[in-house]
């Protein structure tokens, strides 16, 4: 039986996370169908059709799906699920919201945030903020799975699958979209950036984040933060890297004024190269850093900006 993936998109563009979920699905060894549920979402569906390994894109175009509300999208997935062995989504805020609802409606267990596919019914997933890795096995007829995007490469955009329309199903009409306040930034998105530079409580204020931003702009990097910096009100929550924020695994992660609490390490320890700048040489962040610099960040950052 084929595998169904719920695409994450904003109608105009497909989110990069979806390409990572396709790679996870490819390891299951069956045909992959991508569901694009949205309103005027043909552009996102066309991008989905280009992902290598996708056999077919299903486009459900209806006003009810415009904002990916969990209730109507879950109802749609439940109607499609009987034809599939697995229903997958990237573990984004959409996937995490919708898929448990689908699982409960189908009376099956769900497997969250997988980091490896062991077999068609067994998966590895982190527990305790990544301090242990559980291998879990499902005996359910349909496996409902979200995928940690940093654990799987993105599928290439070299394919060309057909796009097929599917009908909307009745909207349970339990919820409605009111508004969205999306952070506007010229910088790359945290979870897909090649370089991430993050600040912690050591930054002392939100204003001081401009020191990081200046370097980020030179490197084409995204700017993140520790939970401590978010809790202190320096930056908005969507900057947060960690167990309770975003999970990132860039080629280069630069942690500035971050002590390295377990909850932060859970969000960045799979980065390829980690740099830590901290004046406290005992800070736990140095235990995971490839390159550590014990220095006052207010001296080091301007120097770094000059040097890169």
């Amino acid at each position: 039986m084929p595998i169904l993936i719920l695409a994450d998109h904003d109608n105009a563009t497909l989110k990069p996370a979806t390409a990572h979920a396709v790679t996870a699905a490819a390891k299951l060894g069956a045909d992959i169908h991508l569901l694009v549920a949205g309103r005027n979402a043909a552009p996102a569906a066309e991008q989905a059709a280009k992902l290598a390994g996708v056999a077919k894109v299903l486009l459900a175009d209806d006003a009810a799906y415009e904002h990916a509300l969990a209730e109507p999208v879950a109802a749609l997935l439940v109607s499609l699920a009987p034809g599939y062995s697995h229903v997958l989504a990237a573990a984004t805020s959409v996937g995490k919201n919708v898929l448990p609802r689908v699982a409960a409606l189908l009376d099956v267990a769900m497997i969250s945030d997988i980091t490896a596919v062991v077999s068609a019914d067994s998966f590895e997933r982190p527990i305790y903020a990544g301090n242990a890795i559980a291998t879990v096995q499902s005996a359910d007829a349909v496996k409902i799975v979200t995928v940690r995007t940093t654990a799987f490469e993105a599928a290439a955009a070299t394919g060309g699958a057909p796009v097929e329309s599917v009908a909307a199903v009745a909207d349970p009409a339990l919820s409605s979209f009111v508004s969205a306040e999306l952070s506007k930034s010229e910088r790359p998105e945290l979870t897909s950036a090649r370089i991430v530079i993050s600040g912690g409580r050591g930054m002392q204020s939100g204003d001081n984040f401009h020191l990081l931003e200046a370097i980020a702009d030179k490197l084409g990097a995204a700017v993140g933060a520790s939970r401590a910096a978010v809790d202190a009100g320096f930056v908005p929550n969507d900057y947060q890297v960690g167990q309770t924020g975003k999970i990132v695994a860039p080629e280069l992660y630069v942690a500035v004024g971050i002590s390295g609490a377990i909850q932060h390490l859970a969000g960045m320890k799979d980065s390829k190269v980690i740099v830590a700048i901290n004046k406290d040489e005992e800070a736990p962040i140095f235990q995971v850093a490839d390159y550590g610099l014990v220095a006052d960040l207010f001296k080091a950052l301007p120097e770094l900006q000059q040097a890169v």
Binding site: A104, Y128, P172, L174, S175, F177, A180, E281, L293
Partner: protein
């Protein structure tokens, strides 16, 4: 409006967990347990809604071993009115917990259920969404703001690119994210008072719910360890290493 809150007893967030040598799970004997931090935020939100006059009674529920009574007493000390322990020593998986909560919702008829967005032990992030599905209710997950009025609730949600506000018909399920509030510390007089508040103990069987785990845990292993690297003396050396050794900039 009555509010039902669900709380889980978990290994305290400050404990550095150890994987058992036989890979059957995580060592839980002789470690400190406390209320799942996200559930603490959920209880706090319910108490604030009651203080603001939007709620009349708070019922707090935990599904787990006898020791979860302590977790419930903590919630009572924070301001919940009464507690229900659904006692089981079986590993509680989200679908089973959602079914137990559904049975209790049918008995208690709350106008809203608030729970944490995820438990910090299994990191599933499923129970609230599953409960909403089983009840046929709307769901406001990852909430950073909750405003209830006129049979509706507006929930501002933490989403990947920022914030989103949705409006749900009541009754509905809300799951708490970090920034929803800062939970209070229970005062000593309130801890004393909490000891006298009602705490009922029942079993999943009495509710007609089968809590047998559906997912089998094959093994639990240590994650791959990262080795500490080197210390560099200055920024110039750091940039040189990044350019010529790691080749990442």
């Amino acid at each position: 409006m009555k509010i039902l809150c669900a709380v889980k007893r978990v290994v305290d967030y400050n404990v550095k967990i150890r994987v058992k040598t036989d890979q059957s799970g995580v060592e839980t004997s002789n470690v400190k347990f406390s209320m799942n931090p996200f559930d603490e935020i959920a209880v706090e939100e319910a108490v604030r809604l009651k203080e603001a006059g939007a709620a009349t009674e708070i019922v707090v529920v935990s599904i787990g071993p006898a020791q979860a009574q302590e977790t419930l007493r903590t919630a009572l000390a924070m301001g919940a009115d009464r507690a229900i322990l659904v006692q089981t020593d079986v590993e509680t998986q989200p679908l089973a917990v959602a079914k137990v909560l559904k049975a209790l919702v049918e008995k208690e008829a709350p106008g809203m259920v608030i729970l944490g967005k995820q438990a910090i032990d299994d990191d599933c992030n499923q129970t609230g969404q599953m409960l909403a599905a089983l009840l046929g209710w709307g769901q406001g997950t990852f909430a950073s703001k909750v405003v209830a009025a006129d049979g509706k609730v507006a929930v501002t949600r933490e989403i990947d690119g920022g914030l989103e506000t949705v409006e749900l018909k009541l009754p509905a399920v809300v799951t708490a994210d970090l920034r929803l509030n800062e939970p209070r510390y229970a005062s000593l007089p309130n801890i004393m008072k909490a000891k006298k508040k009602p705490l009922e103990t029942i079993t999943p069987d009495a509710l007609g719910v089968d809590v047998t785990p559906r997912l089998k845990t094959v093994k639990v292993a240590e994650p791959a360890k990262r080795q500490a690297g080197i210390k560099v003396p200055d920024v110039a050396t750091l940039v040189d290493k990044l350019k010529n050794e790691a080749r990442v900039i």
